[in-house]
């Protein structure tokens, strides 16, 4: 405390001395120029006032000693991004994905599986070629891995860190990030390929409008007119073609920070990426449900490539009318199968 006081005393003396020198100088100047000393003082010692802080906020006319830096003193967009991510994006994801899962469960419990009404004819129609199935399952696997790792990046710390402890958690998270960042671009390329491949069969038309008006015939015994792809399939396609492409583009912005994109750009990319990806994850649950336990006979189309004639008749009647003469009987199939797979699936336009 003594040294403190001594310092203060010394400081006071120094200040006095400084003031004296300054006033002498100013007096000299005042004598020389006849200017007002008050005005001189005001400009000689610029105060850190509200104007300075306004400037800090505006980001104008500043330099930073750090190499290649674009950082001002305070960059409030960081706090904005934090609020958007933690207050809006996080809860949105939980509501969207959790809500969709709950909705599907309730639907399954109340309405149940959409069974075939007629018995299977035993005759098969080629629906997906080997290439198409390979593409579908590759993209699907990548999607699931990316969705799970993405969810882990957003919510994992609330679940797995307390559960596993730091050591396992650290390995899990670095794995998560590597998978997400390196599989992401591969998914991006393959999604573009699959979108191009499936584009022709997904051009919307009037039949789809009718399909939607009747709810796709998901409830009840009614079957709605549909060509090779029904309204729901087309909606999923176009969601991937829009939101999916946005998610890929914004993901690449964050994945490769070495192109000089600004922090603000990456903040927005993150918001777009997480909102889009969470929405896609939620809707994908619906796609997975309808394609597996939700519809009898649907999954075999994507696993074996062939669907039963009865399934085609009930779910894609307009397509069935076009290709019904190409049905094959599996018993005589080894040759027929090979032939069928070598060519375009009969239903694919073009």
């Amino acid at each position: 405390m003594h040294t403190h006081n001594a310092c203060l005393a010394l400081g006071r003396r120094l200040t006095l001395l400084l003031l004296l020198v300054t006033s002498l100088l100013l007096a000299g100047q005042a004598l020389a120029q006849g200017a007002d000393t008050e005005g001189e003082l005001a400009t000689a010692v610029p105060p850190v006032d509200a104007e300075i802080w306004r400037q800090v906020k505006s980001g104008e006319n500043f330099i930073d000693t750090r190499h290649d830096s674009t950082y001002n003193l305070v960059n409030p967009s960081g706090e904005t991004w934090r609020q958007i991510r933690n207050r809006w994006v996080s809860p949105f994801g939980l509501i969207a994905v959790g809500g969709m899962a709950a909705l599907i469960l309730v639907f399954y419990l109340i309405v149940g599986r959409k069974d075939l009404q007629e018995p299977r004819s035993g005759r098969k129609l080629l629906r997906w070629s080997t290439l198409e199935r390979a593409l579908h399952w590759t993209v699907a696997t990548l999607f699931v891995v990316l969705a799970l790792t993405g969810l882990n990046l957003l919510y994992g710390k609330f679940v797995f860190n307390p559960l596993f402890g730091d050591a396992v958690w650290a390995a899990m998270m670095s794995g998560t990030k590597l998978l997400h960042n390196y599989l992401g671009p591969i998914f991006g390329i393959l999604l573009i390929v699959i979108l191009a491949k499936f584009l022709k069969m997904n051009i919307p038309n009037k039949t789809d409008w009718e399909w939607f008006k009747k709810g796709g015939g998901m409830i009840g015994k009614e079957h709605v007119d549909a060509h090779f792809a029904n309204g729901g399939e087309k909606a999923w396609f176009w969601l991937l073609a829009t939101a999916g492409v946005l998610v890929i583009a914004s993901g690449l912005v964050m994945d490769f920070p070495n192109y000089g994109q600004s922090r603000d750009t990456m903040q927005w990319a993150n918001v777009i990426h997480s909102l889009g990806a969470l929405a896609l994850t939620a809707v994908s649950l619906g796609h997975i449900y309808i394609g597996t336990i939700g519809t009898e006979g649907a999954l075999e189309g994507m696993t074996t490539g062939y669907v039963d004639e009865t399934w085609a008749k009930e779910h894609h009647n307009l397509w069935y009318e076009e290709v019904k003469d190409q049905a094959v009987t599996p018993d005589s199939s080894p040759e027929a199968n090979q032939n069928g797979q070598a060519t375009q699936p009969p239903g694919t336009p073009g």
Binding site: V48, D49, G78, F256
Partner: protein, 208 residues
């Protein structure tokens, strides 16, 4: 328990970058990383003003709030530290921090970020041994009863560090002795002997 804070007196900072150099020297941080920086407004004009800035060890730290791996954490004395074993280099702390404190060595393949580095208030970080701690985080001067080297070495004592209350007391005394109500950190309120820490710092994120 004390709450540790930095404060830079903008009316004293002469942009000598001594704090930047002291920090580099005390912590031997990686090439390309500079934990402390000096921002100058209106460089070369009569209204020029400089402020030294690094991690401000926020009470409500955005970096901690957004980190997906809980790399960042706050000690009881308010110092925000990072655990390099947990960092995955996602960059979220960099997105969130208003002060540009978190930095990444851009040395990995495909521009992938390395482990985040930032000011530790010269308090090191989690490690098994003293050597490992120094290797990963730099000096742990707090452990030795010393303050951060940047503040200790500041030639004009513009940058002060320590318990928030002490820092506030020193600063308050300065303002009083400067003798005008907007002595340093201006606000709409009059800065005087009753001013608490909250009133001294202008909240630049505040909407007007």
């Amino acid at each position: 328990m004390a709450t540790m804070k930095f404060m830079c007196d903008a009316e004293r900072c002469i942009e000598c970058n001594g704090c930047v150099t002291a920090c580099k020297n005390a912590n031997e941080v990686e090439w390309g990383i500079q934990r402390r920086r000096v921002v100058t407004l209106n460089d070369g004009e009569p209204t020029e003003v400089s402020i030294s800035v690094a991690c401000m060890h926020c009470d409500d730290a955005p970096c901690i709030a957004v980190c997906p791996t809980e790399t960042l954490f706050k000690r009881d004395d308010g110092i925000v530290l990072h655990d390099k074993d947990l960092c995955i280099g996602c960059g979220y702390c960099l997105y969130a921090c208003p002060f540009g404190a978190p930095q990444f060595p851009g040395t990995e393949a495909f521009g992938e970020r390395g482990k985040m580095d930032k000011c530790t208030f010269c308090a090191g970080g989690p490690a098994d041994s003293k050597e490992e701690e120094y290797e990963k985080y730099g000096a742990n001067r707090i452990d030795e009863g010393k303050l951060p080297l940047c503040a200790e070495m500041c030639s004009t004592k513009a940058l002060i560090a320590g318990d928030a209350q002490t820092v506030a007391d020193i600063f308050r005394q300065r303002v009083v002795q400067r003798g005008h109500e907007d002595g340093a950190w201006s606000s709409t309120q009059r800065v005087g002997p009753q001013t608490s820490m909250d009133h001294l710092a202008f909240d630049a994120t505040r909407q007007e």
